[in-house]
Symmetry: C2
Subunit: 337 residues, 2 copies
């Protein structure tokens, strides 16, 4: 490596890992625009080898500013006596060194690129990104969402040491203890009602459970939409209305079914009515919270994939228990006969 | 399109969507091995254009059998008077038309390919797969895991019609009703105990909740490991021991913490002991079930990402409630003073 190469590599290493600068490499072949394609061909034969995943050479001016790129396809299919500047593609698609790695991945996916040049704020060529590194970003982003939703680090090794894994996971269990205690505190407020009728205790877990599942369906949809950039200010109201409507419809459906089951099981029409009302309310709230929680978390710079499900479940637990036990308390005189 | 081209395209369309045959295209440039590189160069200039993402030409014999490939890099860096067969790479890395799309994606990821030839059972070249289609497969596979874990179709559109979405999602809510009723039936068996002491009802949701969270951490880890091919017959026992050990350690930790909280809150040492014992048992079971359920589901050809979490939660709910309420019933005379 000569001094210029070393400088380039060192500069490349100084960028944050999750930016274009962090995933680029400096294995670029640069050429001038004023030479003929024939000169390029002779230059390449002299080099004898190209870096992996090279599909284009980069055309720079005397200040190292990127002015275009010449694809290998063009070199092979054009006449050799033509100037590079005549057949090159222009540099309007260069990636800025500060672009986030997820945005880089979206660009590659949308444009079907194999490689792309990276430039600094002065349009100087500083490196290139190749599709194999982009594939790693896509894989990591996707794994990150999946693992985070279960409260796991995405860098957790499948066969990591027991004590290390146990310690890492217990953090998330600690968050869940708070959520579980919040739900228990709600039940605790209705201890007198629970004392009067054990059937209420038996049935009280059903409404929170359904709310959690329905809400987490919405949360997964919204997390995916946010990651893909499909959800923004222009359409989040529409999404909220849609998910609330789905919650309302499924609320009616499952209110009828669970209400029917409870009447048949416990022979108590008031209890059936109470669980139906709680189910409807909770599935509606689950739809609304399922949209608003991930969007709010993202605004607060908290990863929605990590915190979204837990926050949602806490809300559907608290609302589900409050409505069910609250109604049972208010209607206790009709309920307990 | 001439007759031969049409036949090729029709054959390509006949393969299942999730195989190499289903994601390949037939935009290939084929050459013979006995010509010089110079002839290839002249042929390409005459063509004037190459298909997108072409990084190699395929070398076939007189029977259309694939014998190798010649990368664009090699064409550009080798001397033009050499025979193609001298500088080509051999065909040992061709993809069989029946390979699953996920296996194709792993191959591309491992080998950093930009494109790869696809052959039928007789080694005849039938098409090629390019990295842009592989990226789609990787994105879809990853989204599939994330969405399935929440009980969602991965093709569910963020802005799909309300009634259609509601109907699709209610299927999964229906599965959860059965799980919730299973848990309620367990509580129902202990109605007499619940009647005696409302504090038991207040606390009974904590142990299932912790077991569900801990177990789903393991399930997410195992689903990822299965998808990446990291888990097989050789190491699944080791994984089971590891996750059981983590469950045991975190079981002790949270048994002590929750036991302490319950003693402080309810002033009842027996109740604290009971919830501690139930917590330890449930987190141990959660670790074991978290490994075995996804592996068993995969053996039964059921998607572990879809069914794993629900099956796990049902088990941790049933075990958590049974142990907690069972111990409370057995120890009722010490508990209720």
């Amino acid at each position: 490596m000569d001094a210029a190469d070393r400088l380039r590599v060192e500069t490349a290493l100084s960028y944050p890992e999750d930016t274009a600068g962090g995933i680029m490499n400096t294995d670029v072949i640069t050429i001038r625009g004023d030479v003929d394609v024939d000169v390029v061909l002779r230059y390449l034969r002299m080099k004898g080898e190209l870096p992996d995943a090279t599909d284009a050479l980069y055309v720079i001016d005397e200040d190292s500013k990127l002015i275009g790129h010449l694809s290998l396809s063009t070199i092979l299919t054009t006449q050799p006596d033509i100037a590079v500047s005549e057949v090159m593609d222009h540099a309007d698609e260069a990636i800025s060194v500060e672009t986030s790695d997820s945005d880089v991945a979206s660009l590659f996916e949308r444009r079907n690129w194999v490689s792309a040049p990276v430039v600094d704020e002065n349009q100087h060529l500083v490196g290139r990104i190749t599709i194999d590194d982009v594939v790693d970003v896509i894989r990591e982003d996707a794994e990150h969402s999946m693992m985070s939703m279960a409260g796991m680090d995405d860098d957790e090794d499948t066969f990591a040491p027991v004590v290390k894994s146990a310690r890492k996971r217990s953090v998330w269990l600690g968050v869940n203890v708070l959520a579980a205690l919040a739900a228990a505190s709600v039940s605790n407020m209705f201890e007198a009602t629970l004392e009067q009728m054990a059937a209420i205790a038996v049935l009280m877990t059903i409404v929170p459970s359904m709310g959690g599942v329905a809400g987490n369906q919405t949360v997964a949809l919204v997390i995916r939409g946010l990651a893909l950039g499909h959800i923004g200010d222009s359409n989040k109201k529409e999404l909220l209305m849609k998910e609330a409507a789905i919650g309302f419809l499924n609320g009616i459906l499952w209110a009828l079914i669970i209400g029917g089951i409870v009447v048949a099981w416990k022979g108590n029409w008031v209890l059936g009515g109470i669980i139906s009302a709680a189910m409807m309310t909770n599935l509606l709230i689950a739809g609304i919270a399922g949209v608003t929680i991930p969007i709010l978390l993202k605004k607060m710079n908290i990863d929605p994939a990590l915190a979204g499900g837990m926050a949602l479940t806490t809300i559907t637990d608290v609302v589900g228990l409050s409505v069910f036990l609250g109604l049972a308390t208010v209607l206790a005189s009709y309920l307990i006969v």
